[in-house]
Symmetry: C2
Subunit: 513 residues, 2 copies
């Protein structure tokens, strides 16, 4: 037993070393987005590059080899070690999961020749620049040749990574979300297409008109900041274990479970800062809720991209855009903005923040249409990777899908195919997790309602009860379980998109039809 603890400590120490380098990289990124001076970029990128190399060496190096081997040899099912530490997991369970996740990460890191990986990093750095210029000029043809190169290289990298029977795109998807290959996603998006496209059409043609125009206007930044801080605190973001700052695009980052940070962005649309804070706050609560035993190791982060997104979208949309949530709060918001919201009733406010407005821009999309934007990207990514869609046709393919799903056709490339940075950075397979996250959230919500009076608690200002539920079932586990297991253990059944569809149809049917 004693020897086993020693071996566990060895393993943990190397993982903590790797996690420390990752935390430094995350801090550099946070600093870049929120504070770093304009001209620092090039040199700081070299610092980050060197740290990434160190991370690679730790994860794939001989000390790690030895630690993994030693753990395996001492037997993973030693009953002595179970629950020895008095928590709800045994050392055995933690260490086995650590080994398993570490092996996966090692495989991802080492299956690609290092020079090729560096080459790709350079390519996507240039890609980001070329994309930004093309977007400015609204000219897809200025980006297309670079995109073609990135896709070819990305396929090559995926060919090293893919397992038997996987498509190239499957290998890319797997980086962000395990257990959701093309086959499953086809089914998932198939359901969305079948159910939500006609439903949206019905709302567009027969639905009543809803006014959300009051959300645009003269909302002074310092008051928006005050509101943002109030909201972050209200949903349980702990400013003694977190920081809020401003960046171009809102994001969340975590250095460990005592230091989790969110950003927001202030503009003339109050919805932006208000709901980005609730959204990023949802991500942050996840990271803050991870068990002390896991933080600063490979298990000390959210289970997956989609599971993370489920927590942010649960807070932002399911909770944050509900009437019950705002009942104890809205009066304070009116006090803060008497000129802008004094005459807007709670009911009018709730309608406004739930207005459905099919648009061309993903990041401005409402809750109902959001996954249709994702579906466009899923279709196209898949087509690009299996060769059925050519880059030269991409602009048209994009426009056709927007027309089919959302009833709109972009007039310029910056409103269409050039709007997202992801592809220019080689991120293919990332988009689907946004939509999956919403569906996870709806399924968890359904179950949560069985065990507590969600609306009643919200009306009573008891939102922390919801967070406790999420911490109990999801957050504290970090990466101890994958997302499918989390869903199954939490809800008692396998993942199914039907809760998501039902939730959307009920909510927006009630509002519009």
């Amino acid at each position: 037993m004693e020897q086993k603890m020693e071996i566990y400590e060895d393993l943990r120490q190397i993982l903590e070393k790797a996690a420390s380098v990752q935390a430094a990289l995350a801090l550099i990124e946070w600093d870049n987005e929120t504070l770093a001076p304009k001209k620092a970029g090039e040199q700081t990128a070299k610092t980050a590059g060197a740290l990434s190399g160190i991370y690679y060496d730790i994860m794939t190096g001989p000390s790690m080899d030895k630690a993994l081997k030693q753990w395996k040899e001492c037997g993973e099912d030693n009953e002595d070690a179970r629950k020895a530490d008095g928590t709800f997991w045994s050392i055995d369970e933690i260490a086995s999961r650590m080994c398993c996740e570490t092996e996966k990460e090692r495989r991802l890191l080492s299956c690609v020749p290092r020079e090729e990986y560096e080459e790709f990093t350079k390519m996507t750095n240039a890609g980001g620049r070329i994309w930004a210029e093309a977007r400015k000029k609204k000219d897809f043809s200025a980006f297309a040749p670079e995109l073609e190169r990135i896709i070819e290289y990305k396929k090559k990298l995926a060919s090293y990574r893919r397992k038997d029977g996987e498509s190239l795109y499957d290998a890319m998807l797997d980086e962000f979300e395990e257990n959701f290959p093309e086959e499953k996603l086809d089914e998932f998006f198939g359901t969305i297409r079948e159910e939500l496209v006609p439903f949206l059409e019905e709302i567009r043609t027969k639905g009543r008109k809803i006014d959300g125009s009051f959300l645009y206007g003269d909302y002074p930044e310092e008051k928006q900041e005050k509101l943002a801080r109030m909201m972050a605190e209200y949903i349980g973001f702990d400013f003694e274990r977190g920081v809020m700052a401003v960046s171009e695009h809102p994001f969340t980052t975590s250095f460990h479970n005592k230091d989790v940070r969110i950003t927001t962005h202030y503009d003339q649309w109050l919805d932006h800062s208000l709901f980005s804070v609730i959204h990023e706050g949802g991500h942050a609560l996840y990271e803050l809720g991870i068990d002390d035993r896991l933080t600063r190791t490979i298990l000390g982060q959210g289970a997956s991209m989609a599971m993370h997104e489920s927590q942010s979208r649960f807070m932002e949309n399911i909770i944050g855009r509900s009437q019950a949530f705002w009942e104890p709060l809205y009066g304070k918001v009116q006090e803060l903005f008497p000129d802008q919201l004094g005459k807007i009733t709670l009911e009018h406010f709730i309608e406004g923040i739930n207005q459905v407005q099919p648009g061309l821009i993903r990041i401005n999309a409402d809750e109902l249409t959001y996954s249709l934007h994702i579906m466009v990207r899923y279709d196209l990514e898949k087509g690009l990777m299996n060769g059925k869609i050519r880059v030269s046709d991409l602009e048209n393919e994009w426009a056709d899908r927007y027309e089919a799903y959302l009833g709109l056709r972009p007039k310029t490339a910056d409103q269409g195919v050039l709007q997202d940075i992801h592809w220019s950075q080689g991120s293919f397979g990332y988009f689907p997790s946004y939509a999956l996250g919403s569906a996870f959230a709806a399924q968890i919500y359904e179950k949560m309602k069985e065990s507590m009076d969600v609306d009643g608690l919200l009306k009573a200002g008891q939102i922390h009860k919801l967070t406790e539920y999420l911490r109990e079932h999801i957050h504290r586990y970090g990466r101890m379980k994958d997302s499918l297991t989390l869903i199954r253990d939490t809800t008692g059944e396998d993942f199914s998109p039907r809760y998501y569809i039902r939730y959307l149809k009920e909510k927006y049917g009630r509002l519009y039809l």
Copy 2:
């Protein structure tokens, strides 16, 4: 030649890796002091600890061994490589200096057994806490036993480090400033004692009265910040390559020569924020001026503590408290603070910012008395290390010296022996560099005046000409030269404190006598 370049690149790459870890550590420290949430400390300390370990491993590891050995073998005086890159240094010169500084650092790192070093780190972490509590209670006896332990351990560590013939205190001094062992410092502080103690006495008894009271009062923080930014920009701090923030105690940090950061602190004494910005700005200009070839390597930092301090004190005191400096600026300061400074003439302002006020607190000391505060600490450190002063007598020894040098006796320990954090953290040998820096600055100033009309340039708002001179002679060299060589190459003679004494006597004689 080609092979030599390859060997150089190998060496450089490992040094850049080490420098990247140092930059990450510096960023963590910056973040801790300016932004990090309250409860992050313990976990973040673990991250920093792991990164320090990685730094240790890189500096002392086999890749570094190999790179150093290879460089030595390929011959340091290969004429082919000289000036091959078209700059004012050859690859040979840079690489030789890199090897030499790296060897020193390796020796420092590896001569102490790692467990003992870690033990000492824990001891000084606790020391800082115990010191802070004792200071709050104004009770030296609550800190004395811990200080005794720290001193004993510090001596043990120094015994590993010291070279033949060095005293233990010499070994500690050497960590912060080479070439200034006890023997030289005795001479240096001897001159200061002989010259400045009676001079101060003369000013105190016969000098006229000067009023600086207008510097205290209602100076709103946002206006102080505006002034601080204006001043930073005026002296040449480049906000595209730097950041300014707020922390408890002002400091400067550098990640590379395109990202150098300063902090300040706002309170009711305008002098604090105003001159801390000029002081830290002086440090920052040094780091910003380091040659591109050296940044992100072991040579990409100031030559020494004292040389760094010479640059900050040159800007703060010699330049920043001169009338010529303020002539083109003071009107703007009055505009910013019409109620506070509208009726204070430029002459009155200059007198006020140069008021001599012997006090008990080092960090509030004026230019003239500052080095006397340092002398107290030098005497005591030396005595503690050679055993002539016992910790149990320290409070009295402190008070006696303050009385002898500054004419004042502390009534409470927080105003006396407990005022500085340094000893609680095991920093012995650090203080002298503050005084040395002032003396370096005065000698450089004397020489600078021979080659340019310093006052005329300042009056014409041409302060950048002074910075160019410093960059040319000091800044760009980073650690290519040690401080004595820099002084010799810049001024044409060896270091001597007489310029410092002369400068102070002239300036304060004119003002007071």
